[in-house]
């Protein structure tokens, strides 16, 4: 079995995990929740295995680089980071319901990687510009940032759903965590994401400086990552200093994740080149 096959299998695992989590939440069943957890853990382990296998395969072909160099590989890694962060929340906060909102995002990332005709799963050699140790530091930190923002997005959605009827004693809304906990968790995720996005932008700048002699050149991808950074900096200030809380923070977190998605995918549809290809 090669890594692509293994990873397309991971897509199904995340799909099942998401289905079970949602079923457990809606139908108040403990069986699916337990099942979901094991399926999710198995999916994450297989995702990691697929990542490592692909790394090895690239050495076997003779290209020899970390699988972080194109859209397919970044989506696989994105799903993995979401999985890891979700698992951390599950263990630390015992909030199983979060799974119903986090695993679907990992599933969508993997489904897009495996099924979209625009995303090729071929292992390609590294072009000269990408041959840098900063590549690994840059991509890993960026994606931990993105994944934390993705999970924050999921939790913000939970917040908005919960806030329809926060005091209900039973039903599916009652099975979501309390508003305060959701709000706090969003904030935690965003602080984590902000730290990693900052490191991601910084490592990207250092890399650009070593490859092209300029740490910042306002290229669309760079600029959009800065826009994302500004949005989350706004959120942090609004919360710490202006006492913004709850719904407003949830909306800002959703807008912020929109900026993340645009930085990740949307930039490819803008006019002009990302400097990867420039050399």
């Amino acid at each position: 079995m090669n890594s692509s096959q293994l990873l397309s299998f991971v897509t199904f695992m995340y799909g099942f995990a998401a289905t079970f989590y949602i079923a457990a939440w809606i139908f108040k069943q403990t069986m699916p929740a337990k099942l979901a957890r094991w399926v999710a853990i198995a999916g994450i382990l297989m995702n990691a295995a697929g990542f490592i296998l692909r790394w090895k395969e690239s050495y076997d072909i003779g290209y020899g680089h970390a699988p972080l160099s194109n859209m397919y590989e970044s989506l696989v890694f994105f799903a993995l980071t979401i999985g890891i962060i979700y698992l951390f929340i599950e263990i630390r906060y015992k909030a199983t319901v979060v799974g119903a909102f986090a695993t679907p995002i990992a599933f969508l990332a993997m489904a897009y990687a495996s099924l979209s005709p625009n995303v090729s799963d071929k292992i390609q050699p590294l072009i000269p510009a990408l041959k840098s140790n900063w590549l690994i530091a840059h991509v890993v930190t960026c994606f931990f940032g993105y994944a934390a923002f993705a999970v924050a997005f999921g939790i913000s959605i939970m917040y908005l759903i919960k806030s329809w009827a926060p005091d209900k004693e039973s039903g599916i809304l009652a099975r979501l965590p309390g508003l305060n906990d959701l709000d706090e968790l969003t904030h935690q995720m965003i602080m984590f994401g902000f730290l990693f996005l900052s490191i991601g932008i910084i490592t990207g700048a250092v890399w650009a400086n070593s490859a092209w002699g300029s740490y910042w050149s306002w290229d669309p991808k760079e600029t959009w990552s800065l826009i994302t950074w500004f949005v989350y900096a706004t959120l942090l200030h609004a919360r710490t200093m202006r006492g913004w809380y709850g719904k407003r923070i949830a909306y800002l977190s959703i807008i912020g994740f929109g900026a993340v998605l645009f930085t990740y995918f949307g930039v490819n549809y803008l006019p002009g080149l990302h400097s990867y290809g420039a050399v």
């Binding site: 602080m191 902000f194 700048a205 070593s210 910042w216 706004t234 930039v267 803008l270 006019p271």
Partner: protein
């Protein structure tokens, strides 16, 4: 510091911060939708005269350097500086008080308290609890009360400085960028293999910038993967001062050369315009020409070289090859490689004749008394683009940025500052032990300036631990 100055009040507000951050985010989008610094003609064509004028007035085509964008950045920096000065003295007093005072009343106001009862008198518990608190928190203070003691402990008081570190880092980034734009330059040089430069052309102004040394390009190499994708670009450079070689280095894309504060990057490459080398090649080459005489129908073969006249048989004047052109054009059509020559008949004006290598009968079109063509047209002989003959130039980016170390320190400080701000908080706990018969009642309370949920959890954990410390 309370300051009533309206300018100060304007800059101290976090509303302004939110406004500026969102404005920067929103306006930055423009420059990603409209490609920056392109040719004015392209813009004119795309937007029409009215929008073109409007955008030009607003500097939209180079918006990140426009006055209004720089103004937003300037306001943000002023905002940060004023805000930090305004609050720093209060924070300073909190972090370095004359004497650290613990106030039991502050802890008692808390909603979340952990309480338990434990065997043993306060005196027996005191040592254990203080050493536990010392291990977990560090700085502590024990006050005796009538029937027991109160233990205060705290850690990471200085973490209150975290945000100032973050804000200082933003200021450093901007200062570094300003230093770079004032005292640095961004230039480029295309150096053919075997040649040298001692100055570069600047990117923004097009001015020539002397370097104070010479860059000699020994050699450029490119290698490919078997997929055809480029694998490596490599230039072998030598730095010379006063003709003396000072430094030799092969540079590749992620590995520049640095000399005297100037960095030289492998940025691009190209092939030299082919005419030059083709002339060179063909001046050496022996070329055979066929002369077909119309009147007699005879074909004569003659040897020649570029620049060497030959007599055309049967007294038809002379013919001189003048040039080789690998990309010749005839009436706007590209006809590929061709030799050009001058035919000087015995009577009349000399005329230009074109001999395309791929069309042996081309000269018949001229309807002259003699038809000239290249004999034995073996393309190999005439193909000037033999792989090993291709001459490349290295496209080098040559920059000086004395601000980069300020920017890099800003980077490190920002990461450290964010970490402190987000994950460390000034935490204080208070353990109150009171004698109750021959047992003790214990209460634990905790305050943190950040992450209150985390503090609550920690207090719960401590309570469990202390309750089992018999």
């Amino acid at each position: 510091m309370k300051n009533k100055n309206p300018v100060w009040k304007f800059f101290v507000s976090v509303k302004l911060t939110v406004f500026l951050l969102l404005s920067l985010a929103a306006t930055s989008v423009i420059g990603t939708i409209i490609p920056q610094n392109a040719d004015p003609e392209i813009y004119f064509h795309k937007f029409g005269p009215f929008l073109f004028r409007l955008f030009e007035v607003l500097d939209i085509f180079d918006m990140y350097h426009a006055w209004w964008f720089q103004l937003l950045l300037f306001l943000l920096i002023t905002n940060i500086v004023v805000c930090s000065i305004d609050r720093l003295s209060a924070t300073w007093k909190l972090v370095f008080p004359k004497k650290i005072m613990f106030n039991l009343a502050r802890f008692e106001k808390l909603k979340n308290k952990e309480a338990f009862s434990i065997d043993g008198l306060p005196g027996e518990l005191e040592d254990k609890y203080t050493s536990f608190a010392a291990k977990k928190f560090g700085r502590q203070q024990v006050d005796k009360t009538g029937d027991g003691f109160v233990l205060f402990a705290e850690k990471w008081r200085w973490a209150r400085f975290g945000v100032y570190i973050v804000h200082a880092s933003v200021i450093l980034l901007i200062i570094g960028a300003i230093i770079g734009s004032l005292f640095g330059f961004e230039g480029f040089a295309n150096i053919p293999e075997g040649e040298s430069v001692d100055s570069v052309r600047l990117r923004n102004s097009g001015r020539v910038q002397p370097l104070g040394f010479t860059i000699h390009n020994e050699d450029f190499d490119i290698s490919f993967y078997d997929t055809g994708a480029p694998k490596e670009f490599r230039s072998s450079l030598t730095i010379l001062e006063n003709g003396q070689p000072m430094l030799k280095k092969d540079i590749i894309v992620n590995d520049p050369l640095r000399y005297n504060g100037i960095s030289i990057y492998m940025a691009s490459y190209g092939e030299m315009a082919p005419e030059k080398q083709a002339e060179h090649d063909f001046s050496m080459e022996i070329i055979h020409l066929n002369f077909t005489i119309k009147s007699s129908g005879m074909v004569y073969k003659r040897k020649t070289e570029i620049g060497k006249p030959v007599n055309i048989p049967e007294g038809n004047g002379t013919f001189t090859l003048t040039a080789f052109n690998p990309d010749a054009e005839f009436r706007g059509q590209n006809i590929g490689a061709a030799l050009a020559g001058t035919l000087s008949p015995v009577q009349g004006e000399p005329m230009e004749v074109l001999l395309p290598l791929h069309f042996p009968n081309f000269d018949k079109m001229r309807r002259g008394a003699v038809v000239i063509s290249v004999a034995d047209q073996q393309k190999e002989t005439f193909s000037p683009m033999k792989k090993e003959d291709v001459r490349y130039y290295s496209g080098l980016e040559v920059n000086r940025d004395p601000g980069v170390w300020v920017v890099y320190s800003g980077f490190i400080i920002m990461i450290v500052g964010c970490f402190i701000t987000f994950f460390m908080s000034h935490q204080q706990i208070c353990i109150e032990v009171m004698r109750k018969g021959n047992k003790s009642d214990v209460r634990i309370m905790g305050i943190a300036n950040k992450n209150k949920i985390g503090m609550r959890r920690q207090v719960e954990k401590f309570a469990k631990h202390l309750a089992n410390m018999r």
